[in-house]
C-alpha cells in the first residue's frame, strides 16, 4: 500500500505540494484529477522517487521509497511519465523488454520473454514489434511505453495521463489494460486523467488535487459530483447518471 505523509515539495521558490497526506487503496484503480498545474505529475514523480520531497515521506508497504534501494523499488513500482525524453532507435520489442530489467538484471529467462509477448499483445503492438520506436506515431509510442510499464509487472503502477495522443479505439485498449491490471492482476493503479468520464468509468476511488493540496478524496461517485467538481475546476458541470455511473458534462 502507498501512503503519503505530510508531503511538501518546493521548486523555484514555489510551494508545489503543501503538507499533503493521503493513503491509496490497494488493488484498485485510483484516478488523480485536478486542474492544470495542481501538482499531479509532481506527486507521481515523488511517489516514483524521481524527485525528492522537501518534507514528509512516502511509504510503499511500509518502506520509505526514498530510502530503499532503487533496484528494490523498481520491482514493486513502475511509472509512466507525462512526458518522455526522446527514445532513440530501439525496436518496440527491445524497448518493452527493458521493462523486465529490474527482474532479470540483464539475463532474461523464458518467463521474461513470455511476459514481453503478453504485454505487446495486450497493447495491440504485436504487429509493430520489429519497428524502431523513433518511427512510430505519438499514440503508438504511448502504447509502447504503457506496454513497458505493464511488462515491469509491479504491484503499484503510476500512469500520468496515459491517454495522451490516443484515438478513441486506442483509449479503449489502454483503459482495458488498466482495468485488467487492477481487476485480474490485483495491482494498485494510480492514473492521472483529465477526462472525468474515464475516471467515472474505470476508477473506484478519486483523489482531487488543487493548488498542491488535497481537495477531495473518496469513492468515484462522491467526488465526481456537481458541487465538488465545479469548485475544483471553477467552472460549472452537470453530472448525469448513465449506466449507473456518473457522467460529467460541461455546462
Amino acid at each position: 500500500m502507498i501512503s503519503v505523509q505530510n508531503l511538501s515539495y518546493v521548486t523555484a521558490g514555489k510551494r508545489i505540494l503543501d503538507d499533503l497526506s493521503l493513503d491509496i487503496a490497494p488493488g484498485q484503480v485510483t484516478a488523480l484529477i485536478g486542474p492544470n498545474g495542481a501538482g499531479k505529475s509532481t506527486l507521481l514523480a515523488l511517489m516514483a522517487r524521481l524527485l525528492r520531497p522537501d518534507n514528509g515521506r512516502i511509504t510503499l508497504d511500509g518502506l520509505d521509497v526514498h530510502r530503499t534501494a532503487t533496484a528494490d523499488i523498481a520491482k514493486r513500482l513502475a511509472i509512466l511519465r507525462q512526458e518522455q525524453a526522446p527514445l532513440g532507435r530501439l525496436t518496440v520489442r527491445d524497448l518493452v523488454a527493458f521493462g523486465r530489467f529490474p527482474h532479470h538484471r540483464g539475463r532474461p529467462t523464458a518467463e521474461d520473454h513470455l511476459k514481453i509477448d503478453t504485454a505487446l499483445d495486450q497493447l495491440a503492438l504485436s504487429d509493430l514489434a520489429g519497428r524502431f520506436v523513433d518511427t512510430l506515431s505519438g499514440g503508438q509510442k504511448q502504447r509502447v511505453l504503457i506496454a513497458m510499464v505493464l511488462c515491469q509487472n509491479t504491484d503499484v503502477v503510476l500512469l500520468d495521463e496515459p491517454l495522451n495522443n490516443l484515438d478513441p479505439a486506442q483509449v479503449r485498449v489502454v483503459m482495458d489494460a488498466v482495468d485488467h491490471m487492477a481487476r485480474d492482476l490485483g495491482k494498485t493503479v494510480i492514473v492521472v486523467l483529465h477526462d472525468l468520464n474515464h475516471a467515472a468509468r474505470h476508477a473506484t476511488r478519486v483523489i482531487a488535487l488543487k493548488h498542491g493540496r488535497l481537495f477531495a478524496e473518496g469513492p468515484a461517485g462522491s467526488v465526481l459530483a456537481e458541487t465538488p467538481l465545479s469548485q475544483l475546476y471553477e467552472t460549472a458541470f452537470d453530472v448525469l447518471t448513465h449506466n449507473a455511473r456518473p457522467m460529467v458534462v460541461a455546462r
Binding site: A45, A48, R49, L50, T70, A71, D72, I73, A74, K75, A78, I79, R81, Q84, A85, P86, L87, G88, R89, L90, T91, D94, F98, G99, F101, P102, G106, F132, D134, Q152
Partner: protein
C-alpha cells in the same frame, strides 16, 4: 542489412585490411620472407604487427568511447576529441611534464586520465543545463570548450618550449608505433570491452534519467562508469598515438542508423567499424604518397568531416 550480416562483413573487412596493413610499408615483406628472412621477421614483429594492432585497438576503443560519450551527453553530435576530453588529457600531460619532468609513462597516463575525467565531467555539467530543444548547442559548447582548453595547452607549451611534444598528442599518427610503444592501448581496448558488460545499463541510461531510475538503475553510478571508460580510452590514445578526430563521432552515428541503439548489438559493431575506419585511413595515408606517409588524423579529418556534414544534413531532427 541484418545485424548478423553487418557483423560478418565488418569482420571480413577488418581481416582484409589487417593483412594489407601487415604487408604494406616502405620495405616490402612477402609472406614467405617471414619464414626464411630473420630481418624481415624482425621488421614484421617489431614494426608492422604492433602498428596494425595499435590502429585496431585505437579505432575500436575510440569509436566505443564516442558512443558512450554521446549517451552521457544525451546528444549524438559529441565525441571525446571535440568536447574537451582529449584536450583536457593533453593539458594534464603538459602540466605534469612541467611540474614533474621525467615521470614514467604510466604516471603520465594516470595524470592524463584524471585530467580527462575532470574536463569531461565539467563539460557534462555544462551541457546538462542547456535547453533540450536546442540539440546543436551541445556540440557547439563542446567545440568552444575544447578549443579553450586546447588553446591553454598550446599557450603553456609555447611558453615552455614544448610545442613539439604537444604536436605528437594533438595530431594522431601511427608511424612512430613500434613494439614497446603501444602496449598501453590494450588497456584502452579492455576498457572498451568492459563497456559491453554494462551494455544494457548504458542503453537504459540513454533513455534518460527518469527511465533509468524507474528501472532501478543507479543513474549516477552508470554515468560515472561511462565517464571513466571514456576518460581512460581518450587519455591512453592521446598519450600513445595522439588525438584522432571523427572516429567517435561518425562511427556510432552510422551504426545507430543501420542497427539501432540497443548496445548489445551496437557496441561490437561500433568497435569493429571503428577499427575498420581507422585502419582504412591509416592504409590510405601510407599509400597515397608512397613511400611517404600522411598522418592518419589528416586523412580522417578529411573523410570524417565529409561524412559528418552528410550526417548533419540527413538527420537534422534526431540529434537529441
Amino acid at each position: 542489412m541484418t545485424p548478423r550480416a553487418t557483423f560478418a562483413s565488418l569482420c571480413c573487412l577488418l581481416a582484409l585490411l589487417s593483412v594489407a596493413s601487415l604487408l604494406v610499408g616502405a620495405q616490402g615483406i612477402a609472406p614467405t620472407d617471414l619464414l626464411f628472412d630473420p630481418q624481415a621477421r624482425h621488421l614484421f614483429l617489431a614494426g608492422r604487427l604492433p602498428r596494425t594492432l595499435a590502429v585496431i585497438l585505437t579505432g575500436a576503443s575510440l569509436a566505443v568511447a564516442g558512443l558512450i560519450m554521446q549517451i552521457l551527453a544525451r546528444n549524438r553530435f559529441v565525441e571525446p576529441a571535440t568536447a574537451g576530453t582529449a584536450q583536457s588529457a593533453a593539458l594534464g600531460i603538459v602540466v605534469l611534464t612541467l611540474a614533474a619532468p621525467g615521470l614514467p609513462m604510466i604516471a603520465q597516463m594516470a595524470g592524463a586520465t584524471l585530467a580527462a575525467l575532470t574536463g569531461t565531467a565539467v563539460f557534462l555539467v555544462m551541457v546538462s543545463r542547456l535547453p533540450v530543444q536546442q540539440p546543436m548547442l551541445v556540440p557547439l559548447t563542446g567545440l568552444v570548450y575544447g578549443g579553450v582548453i586546447g588553446a591553454a595547452v598550446t599557450f603553456l607549451a609555447y611558453e615552455n618550449d614544448l610545442l613539439q611534444f604537444v604536436d605528437t598528442w594533438i595530431n594522431g599518427e601511427f608511424s612512430a608505433i613500434v613494439r614497446g610503444r603501444y602496449e598501453m592501448l590494450w588497456i584502452a581496448g579492455l576498457a572498451a570491452a568492459l563497456a559491453y558488460l554494462a551494455a544494457d545499463q548504458l542503453t537504459i541510461v540513454g533513455l534518460g534519467r527518469d527511465a533509468a531510475v524507474n528501472l532501478g538503475l543507479g543513474y549516477r553510478q552508470v554515468m560515472a562508469l561511462g565517464l571513466l571508460a571514456v576518460s581512460v580510452v581518450t587519455a591512453i590514445t592521446v598519450v600513445t598515438v595522439g588525438m584522432i578526430p571523427f572516429v567517435g563521432l561518425v562511427v556510432p552515428n552510422i551504426v545507430s542508423r543501420l542497427q539501432g541503439d540497443n548496445l548489445r548489438q551496437a557496441l561490437p559493431r561500433v568497435a569493429l567499424a571503428g577499427a575498420v575506419l581507422v585502419l582504412g585511413c591509416d592504409l590510405l595515408g601510407r599509400l597515397l604518397r608512397y613511400p611517404h606517409e600522411i598522418p592518419v588524423g589528416t586523412v580522417l579529418g578529411v573523410i570524417g568531416a565529409g561524412v559528418f556534414l552528410w550526417l548533419l544534413n540527413v538527420r537534422p531532427r534526431h540529434a537529441g
